[in-house]
């Protein structure tokens, strides 16, 4: 008798400027990704009147943030409130799957969720994002946990991070993020930081210097690239969508 695999939902926090990227990402998930349950898209209220979200996803409208760069990080830190999935996979709008990816295989190793980190020094030890888990948890973190998404997190971690903000800093995580500012706050590093500092044995740690943790997924940079500009790097069905004006 085999145990039933934990449920996985995909959460994408987007906004109006990434509308075309989002459509591309969702189409890539539709074409290539299996092993998940729902795709949840979260956009701020002001964006909801400026963009369409393709059918087939669960759409959540979140409040507007004065600084949406922090706002999108805070949305991710509350992802457990959007779904009851056991494991939540965070993708960005500008992340596109180009090959088949079965999340039941990709996200686990020997029954433990995979968690990425970097032992390298691509990011300086004094870098704000790299230092953010040390600053937040008050304990040394020698590795770089601010490596890019995708990131899969067990649902109990979110509440633990938010509780830590209240207990250790006396403020909700929103206020902590505002005080830290976007250059010194990384939601991915905090989520990984909790795993790294408090329950490392529960994860299969994967050094990004050794292997790409998500080789099926290409990460672009929506602030500088457009879907059309990267269409040549995508497989046929996605290239046609990306190239559309």
């Amino acid at each position: 008798m085999t145990s039933r695999p934990p449920s996985v939902d995909i959460v994408i926090r987007s906004y109006h400027r990434d509308e075309r990227w989002l459509a591309l990402a969702l189409r890539s998930v539709e074409l290539f990704v299996t092993g998940h349950r729902d795709v949840i898209v979260v956009i701020p209220r002001t964006s909801s009147t400026r963009m369409d979200v393709p059918a087939g996803v669960r759409l959540h409208i979140c409040p507007d943030a004065d600084d949406d760069y922090l706002g999108q990080q805070l949305t991710k830190l509350h992802a457990d409130l959007l779904t009851d999935a056991a494991l939540i996979l965070h993708l960005d709008s500008d992340q596109v799957f180009t090959r088949r990816c079965d999340l039941r295989e990709r996200l686990w190793e020997n029954g433990r969720p995979r968690m990425a980190f970097s032992s390298g020094d691509r990011r300086s030890p004094r870098d704000g994002w790299r230092r953010s888990p040390s600053e937040f948890f008050g304990r040394a973190v020698h590795h770089d946990l601010a490596v890019p998404l995708p990131l899969a997190v067990p649902r109990h971690v979110y509440a633990a991070v938010r509780d830590h903000s209240l207990r250790a800093h006396g403020v909700p995580i929103e206020e902590y993020a505002r005080r830290a500012g976007p250059a010194a706050f990384s939601e991915a590093a905090l989520l990984r930081g909790h795993a790294y500092l408090f329950e490392p044995e529960r994860y299969a740690w994967q050094d990004t210097r050794d292997a790409d943790p998500f080789p099926e997924c290409l990460t672009f940079w929506s602030r500088a690239e457009t879907p059309a500009s990267v269409a040549h790097r995508l497989p046929g069905p996605l290239a046609a969508l990306a190239a559309r004006p």
């Binding site: 002001t46 009147t49 963009m51 600084d67 949406d68 976007p182 250059a183």
Partner: protein
């Protein structure tokens, strides 16, 4: 159900999809030609889709035109559809009604992507929720010698005839020099006991696109974009109650770029200390890093000074010189400001207009502003308050039910764009002489009035006998 199509059996539409039946020769070529000519004789409108119980034009989903064809002229199509629907429905024991048809044309490059004609949304019309069957009557031919536009499963012209079929309900037209693709579609629904006439109570319901919205391609062609589209897509637009606190560096840069740098110290700083304001701002963000000096640049703002008793004074939208013709942006700022004022329990918004103005007064009156008793008197001119209710003004402007994204993209009907442009240009030009310290020639007095410095009672202070108590009287010392 088209000329030259193999007829007869049901074919599956795909796994889990309903079955499709093709019926040959339901209309003669001559009948098709007459309907095509009828459709070609009327301009048509952008075909809408049903979203949240409202017809909206969404060019990413549907890009074609719907044509008004009268009941009499379209009866041959209706009759053919009813014949087919009755045959399909035979033996079900339920009577049917036909919901449509819609007469649609597809120019090269146009489409209607995969979709469902039936909805499960309880807010949608019952007719839509009860649909059982879709009938599509293609008015084209597969061979060009019949004199009809050539159609081949979704493409038009020789390129498609060579094998570029389209599936999944997507009618993708390719080039080929023919007029385009014409078709009629209708849905039948179960409706026991509701038979109307001999054609099963059909109605020719050619629903127009939602007022104010239009298919972008209708005005510029599918590949054309507005001059300001790229930047408008990047802009953040929002309303703040603390423009000075949240955007002071950006405001300084913006006013400087507009040649109004002195207003920062002369107006905005003192105003922030004494008055309650709501300001719609549009700013562009630097790609990276997203914070720090120079990370944001204001491109436009619209400001309202608001009172505690539900009134607001508007200052015309100011745009940087590069955006002078960016009517999508000015309209978007006005829209979000008026919507915000509505949520702030603001009953009236007012603009002060030179008593000798016809241009601005006329533009404001055309969108729901009315002259009131309140006035500002300077040494050189007298300005009268034109006031309107925020929701009414939005509606009269045609901005009430339109998505912000459509406004920014000017995805609007041409008359509405003209109306918005006239209002913005009139207000923006009308206030310029005030900014130039020449109020005698200003048509608009900006609403940057310091409530706390007004006569006793502020702008809604003692109005005097016989004057509407909501009408303010303001006198600027000579």
């Amino acid at each position: 159900m088209r000329q030259g199509q193999r007829a007869g059996e049901w074919v599956p539409g795909g796994a889990g999809e309903p079955f499709v039946r093709v019926v040959e020769g339901a209309l003669s070529r001559e009948e098709c030609r007459r309907v095509v000519d009828l459709m070609a004789g009327v301009a048509g409108q952008a075909g809408p889709v049903l979203r949240k119980s409202a017809d909206v034009v969404d060019v990413r989903m549907r890009h074609c035109r719907e044509h008004m064809v009268g009941a009499q002229e379209g009866r041959v199509v209706v009759a053919a559809m009813v014949r087919v629907a009755s045959e399909v429905h035979a033996g079900v024991g339920e009577e049917i009604r036909l919901d449509g048809p819609k007469f649609c044309s597809y120019s090269p490059g146009e489409y209607f992507r995969a979709h469902r004609d039936r909805s499960a949304d309880p807010h949608d019309p019952p007719a839509v929720r009860a649909r059982r069957l879709t009938v599509v009557c293609v008015l084209n031919d597969t061979e060009p010698d019949g004199g009809l536009p050539v159609f081949d499963g979704g493409g038009v012209g020789s390129a498609c005839a060579a094998g570029r079929r389209c599936g999944g309900g997507q009618g993708r037209a390719a080039g080929g020099g023919v007029a385009g693709c014409f078709r009629c579609r209708a849905s039948a629904r179960g409706a026991a006991g509701q038979i109307g006439d001999q054609i099963l109570g059909h109605r020719l319901d050619l629903r127009p696109g939602r007022a104010g919205r239009v298919n972008r391609a209708d005005k510029k062609g599918p590949a054309m974009r507005n001059l300001h589209d790229d930047v408008n897509e990047r802009l953040e637009v929002r309303v703040t109650d603390d423009v000075l606190g949240a955007y002071r560096p950006e405001l300084a840069g913006f006013l400087g770029a507009c040649g109004l740098g002195r207003l920062l110290e002369e107006v905005f700083v003192p105003l922030a200390g004494t008055a309650r304001t709501r300001t719609a701002v549009a700013y562009e963000e630097r790609p990276w890093p997203p914070a720090g000096v120079g990370a944001r640049a204001l491109r436009g703002l619209g400001l309202a000074v608001v009172s505690e008793d539900g009134q607001a004074l508007l200052t015309p939208v100011i745009l940087t010189p590069q955006h002078r013709t960016n009517i999508g942006l000015s309209a978007a700022l006005l829209k979000i400001l008026l919507e915000d004022l509505g949520t702030q329990d603001i009953d009236w918004v007012a603009v002060f207009v030179n008593q000798r103005s016809q241009l601005v007064a006329g533009e404001l009156a055309s969108v729901g502003f009315e002259p009131r008793e309140a006035r500002v008197v300077t040494g050189q001119a007298e300005f009268t308050a034109y006031a309107g209710r925020p929701a009414d003004v939005l509606e009269r402007l045609g901005l009430g039910g339109v998505r912000l994204g459509d406004v920014l993209a000017l995805n609007l009907e041409r008359p509405l764009v003209t109306k918005l442009a006239a209002l913005q240009f009139a207000l923006a030009e009308g206030v310029k002489n005030y900014w130039a310290d020449d109020p005698q020639w200003a048509e608009v007095f900006p609403g940057l009035i310091d409530w706390a410095a007004l006569p006793p009672g502020g702008i809604t202070g003692t109005p005097g006998p016989g004057v509407d108590p909501i009408d303010p009287v303001i006198v600027i010392p000579r």
